[in-house]
């Protein structure tokens, strides 16, 4: 099952409507990244309204996808998380949610526009930075790369 990714002006819109296997979730991740590069999108909105389970694996995929999109030079927002999913994720561990979120698609579009305009002027320095292996610099083998990335100083501070 392939998750459709729609282009709306300079934004990519995607909505996960079915339960994804781990393989499908990773395929979705690379599809998003490929589409961002191909369409030169400035932002990605991922709607998860229809997802009734987001476990630690899926949370990681969403966090990482957002982090990767940002490293590419675009912005990412996840929207529409079900209340029971939010409750479960926070009960499991607060650190599982490491991505910009909004209540719904409306707010997601507002937020992504704001994030994009905040990025203007710094985009070049971001897209030039190499992907690297994402290894945390503090040498903590158990800390996940995506978390380390998100805690790294914002690129906007450079410019």
């Amino acid at each position: 099952m392939k998750v459709p990714i729609l282009r709306l002006r300079d934004i990519l819109l995607t909505s996960i409507q079915v339960d994804l296997t781990d393989r499908e979730a990773l395929d979705f991740q690379s599809d998003v990244l490929r589409m961002v590069t191909k369409t030169e999108a400035k932002g990605v909105v991922i709607d998860i309204t229809a997802m009734d389970v987001v476990d630690s694996f899926m949370a990681r995929v969403l966090n990482e996808t957002a982090a990767m999109v940002r490293v590419l030079g675009a912005e990412a927002v996840v929207c529409g998380m079900q209340p029971a999913v939010a409750l479960t994720l926070i009960e499991m561990g607060r650190e599982l949610v490491g991505v910009e979120t909004t209540l719904n698609l409306d707010q997601a579009l507002d937020k992504i526009q704001r994030l994009i305009s905040e990025r203007v002027g710094t985009a070049e320095s971001v897209s030039r930075s190499e992907e690297g292996d994402g290894a945390p610099e503090n040498g903590d083998a158990y800390e996940h790369p995506s978390l380390a990335e998100q805690e790294a100083p914002s690129f906007t501070e450079e410019g």
């Binding site: 781990d22 009734d52 389970v53 476990d55 409750l87 599982l96």
Partner: protein
């Protein structure tokens, strides 16, 4: 006793198992939050089976009694086992490519969590229980029910 046994052999079985857990929880009268807790816990545990043991089973059981509704999921495999269970239960510990939140996170989601592991047999049991919602008591001696309360 109402029971569903799901073989865990491929990634898609993770989805089948957690859906079966949700269905059972819903049927027993659990709310959406508990349904989601159980489904997510089953998702974590069965993923461990796929990642570390390749195959196993997930058994979902209606373990309700007169005063409580209770749903139990037992995830079992015959893989290499968890060398250090205590360490595996600590936040952030992972031997695979994960956040290391699966086991400790699952424990926080459920009311009972039991794990035993040795080479060749790993078994994790989780359950969620709530007092029986009033008005749904069936085939129960009324007097006994009120005494228990």
């Amino acid at each position: 006793m109402n029971e569903a046994k799901i073989p865990i052999n491929v990634e898609a079985d993770i989805i089948v198992a957690r859906q079966a857990g949700r269905d059972m929880a819903q049927k027993l009268g659990f709310g959406i939050a508990d349904q989601t807790r159980l489904a997510t816990g089953i998702s974590e545990l069965t993923r461990n089976v796929i990642n570390y043991a390749k195959r196993g089973t997930c058994t979902i059981t209606d373990d309700s009694d007169q005063s409580m509704i209770r749903v139990r999921a037992t995830v079992e495999d015959h893989g290499p086992g968890i060398p250090d269970v205590k360490r595996a239960m600590a936040d952030g510990f992972s031997t695979g490519r994960s956040l290391g939140m699966g086991l400790p996170g699952t424990k926080r989601l459920v009311h009972d969590f039991d794990i035993s592991s040795r080479p060749g047999n790993t078994k994790v049991t989780i359950s969620i229980a709530r007092p029986r919602p009033s008005g749904t008591v069936q085939h129960v001696d009324r007097r006994q029910w009120t005494t228990r309360r």
